[in-house]
């Protein structure tokens, strides 16, 4: 064998062996680094356990979570010494918390959850009720009705409120659709399209609006009608985004010219794409809120955060100015300029507040049917 190797390598007998050893070493290094990466993941998970010096927040990702970090998490960490770790699972909070509860391992302490998820979480009994003392402390600081879904069920505090609306890059599109009907009219409004698909309720209601259904007739969702509308438009949709960050990237890269996306994503994208125009008509508003999953390891820290948040209306105002997203504070107009208040999603004409509770009841069915449309 040795003579064969000598021949092959032109006299360097040990080269293949050395190279083979090097390859084995490289493979081992790759395996080791993978193992190390896995290890670091589990480390971050274990960091959430233990006392209340740690708080793990699950957020949407993208500009919404970035703004939360900038104005709330970092400052809360400085003020209290409680280390805040942010996870960005990218939606589907209700199912993820259910899965974590089934596995008896709640990884998150606080959620930045959208209305559909908060309603489903309440429905499934997967949230911690706010303690009476907390409710008493924050009531004077937050707007009437901000503790939701109601006074007898204090499960989440209003924060955010995202509108899924239509955006259009005028640099790429000559004739922009201004409402869902026109968005679904691909003949008269040609252009590459993107639709947010990480929340089946949002996507289905948008499809119904595109098919001419009036907001007061959204629920119960006519599933067949919604899915048929989506099937029709599917050939013209380049991106079905499954996370806010994905849509933001598609908009900035010019991959889509016309899109239906959360206002936070579009407003953030406007910094890089100034030609982006927003059309609020037919926009769907979901309230969002801070909530604590049942069995959270650091629920005291989570409730401490909720109280701290309610006490810092000046930071809430800065948050709103940054991404034009509402907060739960009382009398926020005192902290914000009239221009900002006018441009808040809740004050825009044509925007409908979605009934999260009704949506939550059909979420599973809509999710399964939407998958059939996307993949089938």
């Amino acid at each position: 064998m040795s003579s064969q190797r000598t021949h092959a390598s032109g006299g360097g007998r040990q080269r293949p062996a050395r190279l083979a050893a090097l390859m084995v070493g490289a493979l081992a290094l790759a395996v080791a680094s993978t193992a190390a990466a896995c290890g670091s993941d589990s480390d971050s998970g274990s960091g959430s356990g233990g006392g209340s010096k740690s708080l793990v927040v699950a957020g949407w990702g993208g500009s919404f979570t970035a703004a939360n970090k900038e104005f709330f998490y970092d400052q809360f960490e400085k003020d209290t010494g409680i280390k805040v770790t942010v996870a960005t699972p990218g939606g589907g909070f209700a199912a993820k918390v259910a899965a974590q509860r089934a596995g008896n391992n709640i990884e998150w302490d606080l959620l930045e959850a959208p209305g559909g998820d908060t309603s489903k979480l309440v429905l499934d009994g997967n949230l911690e009720k706010f303690p009476a003392s907390l409710v008493q402390q924050i009531t004077p600081l937050v707007a009437d009705g901000a503790i939701r879904p109601g006074p007898s069920e204090p499960y989440y505090l209003d924060h955010g409120g995202t509108v899924n609306l239509i955006g259009c890059n005028t640099k790429l599109i000559k004739k922009c659709p201004t409402n869902p009907r026109e968005f679904f009219d691909v003949k008269n409004f040609p252009g590459t399209r993107g639709i947010t698909a990480n929340n089946p309720i949002f996507t289905s209601l948008f499809a119904l609006a595109g098919d001419g259904v009036q907001p007061q007739q959204y629920f119960p969702v006519d599933v067949d009608r919604a899915m048929n509308a989506l099937k029709r438009i599917k050939p013209n949709v380049q991106v079905w985004s499954t996370s806010p960050a994905q849509m933001q990237q598609a908009v900035v890269d010019g991959e889509v010219g016309i899109m239906q996306a959360p206002n936070t994503v579009l407003i953030s994208a406007m910094k890089e794409v100034p030609q982006l125009k927003l059309f609020w008509d037919g926009g769907l508003l979901f309230d969002e809120g801070w909530c604590v999953p049942k069995g959270a390891k650091n629920k005291e820290a989570a409730f401490a955060f909720v109280k701290w948040y309610a006490e810092h209306r000046e930071l809430q105002a800065k948050f709103t100015e940054k991404i034009y997203s509402g907060t739960g504070g009382r009398d926020m107009q005192k902290y914000l300029s009239p221009e900002v208040v006018k441009n808040l999603p809740i004050n825009k004409t044509g925007v409908t507040l979605v009934d999260g509770k009704s949506g939550a009841k059909q979420q599973l069915e809509l999710g399964k049917r939407l998958r059939e449309v996307l993949v089938g």
């Binding site: 064998m1 003579s3 064969q4 190797r5 021949h7 092959a8 390598s9 032109g10 293949p16 062996a17 190279l19 083979a20 090097l22 390859m23 490289a26 493979l27 290094l29 790759a30 680094s33 990466a37 699972p89 939606g91 589907g92 209700a94 199912a95 993820k96 259910a98 899965a99 089934a102 590459t192 698909a197 599917k234 380049q238 991106v239 079905w240 985004s241 499954t242 990237q249 890269d253 010019g254 991959e255 599973l364 999710g367 399964k368 998958r371 059939e372 996307l374 993949v375 089938g376």
Partner: protein, 292 residues
């Protein structure tokens, strides 16, 4: 004089272990295997064939056109990737084995090692930069006048195949190189001296010796491919997911553990079948040697 007792022969050092000693030595591994492989596997089967419909859960899976299409996409795309990776990998490994140029050896080795050293997200993001609408590929082709308008490259099966091929290449090259090292290159000279052309020498002499390694690599690459998750999600988009994405969707968005478990079992069955076919084709001993 005291009698010197001779130690019985069987108490002396032996190169092979007795049954109990061998069992004791592998006991930690067995324990780990039972806890981390055996138990989860039993749980997986219990979930897959448990509530709500028992064995009918499998029927429910195949009733869904999306689930059927996803399984097909997974198997077919993995097959395409495997064929490309094994062909390219075989050529690269052979070049690595036979080249006398240090530079060529270095370039090939780096090309093979780099994907191993980079994180999956980084590799995928690199492909995103290449394939996006106004990315490197589209801009270059437009500049060359090959296309008038940017092509849709991202979120296509082509992007998934390209991304997976790049990531899987080392897993084909490394085992094949290990097999090539054991091939006596003088055999090629010998066959050429007896009148065979270079191609015939490679076909009739090298190929049969390399075949177990090729098949072993094929099995390894295919089995890894069918479990891919990140690349299909990020380069393929929501309309062409792999079964792994469906499993994640069932668990984390729809909370349907039974369907997630059925899909997992089906992936295991496909992987098992592929290994079995490889085993039968190559033969147990040769496969073992090829896998090292």
């Amino acid at each position: 004089m005291p009698r010197i007792r001779r130690r019985p022969r069987n108490k002396g050092w032996q190169s092979t272990f007795s049954g109990p000693v061998g069992l004791a030595l592998i006991a930690p591994f067995l324990a780990v295997a039972v806890v981390f492989i055996g138990y989860p596997f039993v749980e997986l089967l219990r979930t897959a064939f448990g509530e709500p419909n028992g064995l009918g859960n499998v029927g429910d899976f195949f009733d869904s056109p999306a689930a059927r299409k996803t399984l097909w996409t997974t198997c077919f795309t993995s097959l395409i990737v495997t064929v490309i990776v094994v062909v390219v990998g075989a050529v690269l490994a052979w070049s690595l084995r036979t080249t006398r140029s240090r530079l060529v050896r270095m370039v090939i080795a780096m090309a093979v090692f780099m994907p191993l050293w980079m994180g999956a997200v980084m590799k995928i993001y690199a492909f995103t930069v290449l394939f996006e609408r106004f990315g490197v590929v589209n801009r270059t082709l437009t500049w060359l006048g090959v296309i008038d308008e940017p092509m849709q490259l991202l979120r296509t099966q082509f992007a998934v195949v390209a991304g997976m091929t790049y990531q899987m290449l080392p897993y084909a090259v490394l085992p094949m190189y290990a097999v090539y090292v054991t091939i006596d290159l003088n055999l090629i000279q010998a066959s050429e001296s007896m009148g065979a052309s270079r191609i015939r020498a490679l076909r009739d002499v090298v190929a049969p010796l390399a075949l177990p390694g090729l098949l072993a690599s094929t099995v390894i690459v295919y089995v890894i491919c069918i479990g891919y998750y990140l690349t299909p999600v990020l380069l393929g988009g929501a309309t062409a997911p792999f079964t792994a994405s469906l499993i994640a969707d069932d668990i984390f968005n729809l909370f349907d553990p039974a369907q997630a478990a059925v899909a997992s079992v089906l992936l295991l069955v496909v992987a098992g079948l592929v290994i079995l076919i490889g085993w039968r084709l190559v033969g147990k001993e040769r496969m073992r040697r090829a896998l090292g």
